[in-house]
Amino acid sequence: MDFFRPDSLAEALAAKAEHADAVPIAGGTDVMVELNFDHRRPAALLDLGRIVELHEHGRQDGKVRIGAAVPYARIIDELGRELPGLAMAARTVGSPQIRNRGSVGGNLGAASPAGDSHPALLAANAEVEIASIRGTRMVPVKDFYTGVKRNVLAPDELITAVHIAPATGAQQFSKVGTRNAMVIAVCAFGLALHPDQKRVGTGLGSAAPTPRPATKAEEFIATELDWESPKPLADSVLRRFGALVAEAASPIDDVRGSAAYRRHALAVLARRTLGWAWSEHLGGGRRACA
């Protein structure tokens, strides 16, 4: 197995162009598991650990740009105010050790339906910055996932960053797992209020072959919410929202849970997170937490 260790992004992209089968590795929280279990044995590893620009975050065109290798721990500590939904999701990732290494870029690269950051990225309408020696392109995160553990990356491309607009409204993230931490989620749900756009963003995890938004639920709730003079939501509206989120899922039965349970639990998580977020929007309460 070859091991490439570029010092700059340009070198990394050149290496990736030359060795399309090289697997990028940053924190290694997914890649190393696969290597250790011998689930894959790539011809080469492309270590992104030395590339400074992948480990930085900053502002670009009014959005927060998070380098692909910025670990979850830093997102929690440094971006929790601007990106509360992603920070909430990041807090549920693995253990402190994993959060010190794992990154959003890695979650996107692995594209597992159970990745914790996906629902938050979907709800916040994140865009994925993808680069190759051919240039850089931006892909809305809802178009990024193409199948179970598959994404739109071409063989010569690397994920370099995600771009997310700072929150303009309340955001929530909730998941069900057997343990409270260090466990693969049974199902997860992310939600973001976008008062500036008068809409609500959603994201489902562990509920379909790919992470996905609940589009019909978003459309329904956009017509129900009165952004000009906000009022408490009727229980029937919350329940309808939950039901539409559940309908958006196409879960499977597996060792962690049944499809029926996942649908049901998503409806509950969606109803609750919307209720919490809307209460916060009303200004009545502090941020609730699952």
Binding site: V33, F37, D38, S95, V176, T178, R179, N180, A181, M182, V183, I184, V186, V255, R256, G257, S258, Y261, H264, A265, V268, L269
Partner: protein
């Protein structure tokens, strides 16, 4: 003031916390110089015949010194549990058939470990799959046999499943339920490891293990050599939980390979190997039937067990027998009947795991008590009180040979309930139900009694004072995390007055300590500890006899001045003092002694668990647990509570998180820590440990064992609590682990599938 009963810090910890332990895989012993590394090729298929094994490519791989299969191995297949069906023998490397995923098929020996990983992949094994026997029903019907020559899948069985006509005839209410005490993985943090050398006709074997001497005996028998030709040494051991007792097949193989290849051999398993290669625990399918009257009197109780022995019967096949013996728990039930069948299936063999047979008994009777209470509409605490064995009934005979020694079962439950504020908890539960709160409160009780030192209550120890004033204590006991070095030093210090830091405790080397029973079954303090106590007492007597002439005094007038670790004359402050060290300088001052209580002891207690269940998602969280664990007087509260903490955590984990599962082909579904739920601090509340001390008459200090009690008490309390939380919705039982999916499904089913 005596040191006994005080909170002495562990003398083991400074080294563990600074330089770290030295585990088998860390050894740099010169006897292991130039060792080869063993990598085992393990079966990826649960049940198959092996049609061919081609090792030629592996033998050409870099660093490979040898690749061996069953054809090269002259070790006799072993009947691991000697009372199982005689045909159910286990080869060290699979011969014509594999019987579980993880069974060793070939041995690859390389200069470096990584070379073994690569070469093992080149061993080409042709498997012809057979139907896998995974569930016990399939095993019992015997359509597919793991050992066709045995003619059955039954490894061992005892008793008729029929208690006889009239067993429940006079009962006003009879409740029956099938419950599962699920298969769990012991998951010690140190996985198994062994290293062996063969030199000058003698084996030296280092391994991660709980009983050096028993393992030496196993090795000698299985290697076909004299006991004198095997030297077992246990370095630091990172947990065992009962699963590291005796010589594992891999350990025998490592020793055999060292002789066969003429070089030392080392082996250290990965976590994945450990999850399928090390024995599993529990795995009992139980049918409980309880009968009694509406006033709360339980008159009859039947426990029927189908136990999973796994692919090759080991100690797990025998454990249902212990479960049956302990079936009545803390209750004076007029008629008790138990029976079991242990069957083989295409799964990892089962063995001892913290509690080993007793948690299964407690879980069953404590679920039965709750079911009975529910059926007659009585508070579960009241039903228990109505049926407890009363203090004046002790010793309470449970078999022709065995009696519960001492117990205060009602007192323990009342103390736990009072500590928890039981009435207030019930009131809060009612309030939440009334207002339709989605966060339901559940309150679960357990009352338990368990048997410790049940496998024999003898142990040896020796105490020697050296001329420099230091002390060496040798023990046949075998710590792997418990804190013997601290506890044994306290016991020696208490009688000699020699400071703790001058006392060294040695264990786990069969040349230094040829006899010993090891550490399992919560036996150590009441056996090995008492042996040290006795040896120290005898050493004092010996010292007095030697000092008598020098002090020109009668032996009866001599006492130990503990402040200076010396013998002196009682009541004469000006009398000369002769230290133990001075006596040792004149003549070796050493006592070796045997202690045998001749009987087991029966710790007991009661736990109260409070859980909160999210009625919408089914997610249950343990909020509080109050634990009364009475194991007699406490030597060191730090060690005592440490055992309770670990035990309670593991009991909660079985109730809430852990389960080894297989698919219908016998493929393990939870064979890594990503899928198998060992507990983390985030799932556990702070524990409320409540003290109570009822001594046994089995030994002079009144000690019983505490190693497993926490697990035995907490698991049923938590399961009962979760079920109690949703009982008003019509749920009367949910099998463990109580995952959100299971709890939610039970609520749905009770509601008749509505919603």
């Amino acid at each position: 003031m005596s040191i006994l009963g005080t909170r002495v810090h562990r003398v083991e910890d400074p080294a563990f916390l600074t330089k770290g332990g030295t585990y088998t895989d860390d050894l740099t012993d010169e006897r292991l110089a130039g060792a080869l590394h063993l990598t085992l090729v393990r079966s990826p298929i649960a049940h198959a015949t092996i049609t061919s094994i081609d090792t030629s490519a592996a033998k050409q791989a870099p660093g490979v010194v040898a690749v061996l299969t069953a054809a090269d191995c002259d070790l006799e297949p072993v009947l691991v549990f000697d009372r199982a069906n005689k045909k159910m023998v286990r080869p060290y490397l699979a011969t014509d058939r594999v019987r579980f995923v993880g069974e060793p098929v070939a041995a690859v020996l390389t200069e470096h470990p990584y070379q073994g990983e690569d070469a093992a992949e080149l061993v080409d094994v042709d498997y012809d799959p057979l139907p896998a026997v995974v569930d016990v029903e399939a095993a019992l019907n015997g359509e597919v046999l793991l050992f066709p020559e045995a003619g059955t899948n039954v490894a061992t069985a005892k008793g008729s499943a029929d208690p006889g006509a009239g067993f429940f005839a006079d009962c006003e209410v009879v409740v029956t339920k099938q419950i599962l005490n699920q298969r769990v993985a012991p998951a010690p943090l140190e996985t198994r490891a062994a290293a062996a050398a063969w030199d000058d006709g003698r084996y030296t074997v280092f391994c991660s293990n709980q009983n050096a001497q028993g393992t030496r005996d196993d090795l000698a028998e299985r290697l076909g050599v004299d006991v004198a030709d095997v030297h077992v040494i246990l370095p630091d051991v990172g947990g065992g939980f009962g699963a590291k007792i005796g010589a594992d097949p891999e350990y025998v193989l490592v020793a055999w390979l060292a002789r066969r290849l003429g070089r030392p051999v080392r082996w250290s398993e990965s976590r994945s190997e450990n999850m399928t290669g090390l024995v599993h625990g529990r795995a009992q399918h139980q049918t409980i039937t309880i009968g009694g009257d509406r006033d709360g009197t339980v008159k009859a109780y039947q426990l029927k067990i189908v136990g999973e022995a796994g692919a090759y019967p080991a100690f797990g096949a025998a454990l249902p027998n212990l479960t049956g013996m302990m079936a009545r728990g803390t209750y004076d039930i007029a008629r008790k009947h138990s029976s079991y069948v242990s069957v083989v299936t295409n799964t990892t063999p089962t063995g001892a795991y913290r509690g080993a047979g007793r948690p299964e008994a407690t879980q069953a009777i404590e679920r039965a008590m709750d079911l009975f209470a529910r059926a007659i509409g009585m508070d579960p605490a009241d039903v228990r009180r109505k049926n407890f064995i009363a203090p004046e009934q002790f010793p309470y005979e449970i078999t022709d040979e065995i009696s519960y020694d001492t117990g205060e079962y009602a007192k323990a439950l009342d103390l736990a309930l009072r500590s928890a504020g039981y009435e207030q908890l019930r009131a809060e539960q009612a309030r939440r139900r009334e207002r339709g709160d989605t966060k339901l409160l559940g309150i679960g009780l357990s009352s338990y009694v368990e048997i410790t030192a049940g496998g024999g209550a003898s142990e040896n120890g020796s105490v020697e004072v050296h001329p420099d004033g230091t002390v060496t204590v040798l023990t046949g006991s075998s710590p792997h995390g418990q804190g013997h070095a601290t506890a044994w030093a306290m016991l020696a210090h208490e009688q000699l007055g020699i400071p703790m830091e001058k006392i060294t405790v040695r264990h786990g080397d069969t040349d230094q300590i040829p006899e010993g029973a090891g550490t399992m079954g919560s036996r150590s303090l009441q056996t090995g500890g008492i042996a040290v106590h006795k040896a120290a007492g005898e050493l004092v007597e010996l010292a007095k006899q030697r000092a008598a002439d020098l002090l020109e005094a009668d032996v009866a007038d001599l006492v130990v001045d503990k402040d200076v670790a010396a013998i002196t004359v009682a009541g004469v402050p000006s009398a000369r003092k002769i230290t133990f060290a001075e006596l040792a300088a004149q003549e070796q001052l050493r006592v070796h002694t045997e202690w045998d209580a001749g009987k087991a002891t029966f710790p007991f207690g009661a736990h109260v668990a409070v859980v909160e269940v999210d009625a919408e998602t089914g997610k249950a969280a343990v909020q509080r647990i109050w634990a009364v664990d009475d194991a007699g007087p406490v030597l060191n509260p730090l060690l005592f509570d440490g055992q309770r903490h670990g035990g309670i955590a593991q009991g909660i984990a079985q109730a809430m998180l852990e389960e080894v599962t297989y698919d219908e082909d016998g493929q393990p579904l939870a064979a890594s820590f990503a899928d198998y739920g060992i507990p983390s601090a985030a799932e556990l509340p702070s524990f409320d440990l409540v003290g109570m001390e009822t001594p046994t008459d089995a030994n002079p200090l009144g000690y019983k064992g505490i190693g497993e009690a926490g697990t035995i008490g907490s698991c049923p309390a938590v399961q009962n609590a979760v079920i109690d939380a949703v009982a008003h919705l019509g749920v009367d039982h949910i099998d463990m682990p109580l995952t959100p999916v299971r709890v939610w499904t039970a609520i749905q089913q009770a509601a008749g599938g509505a919603k």
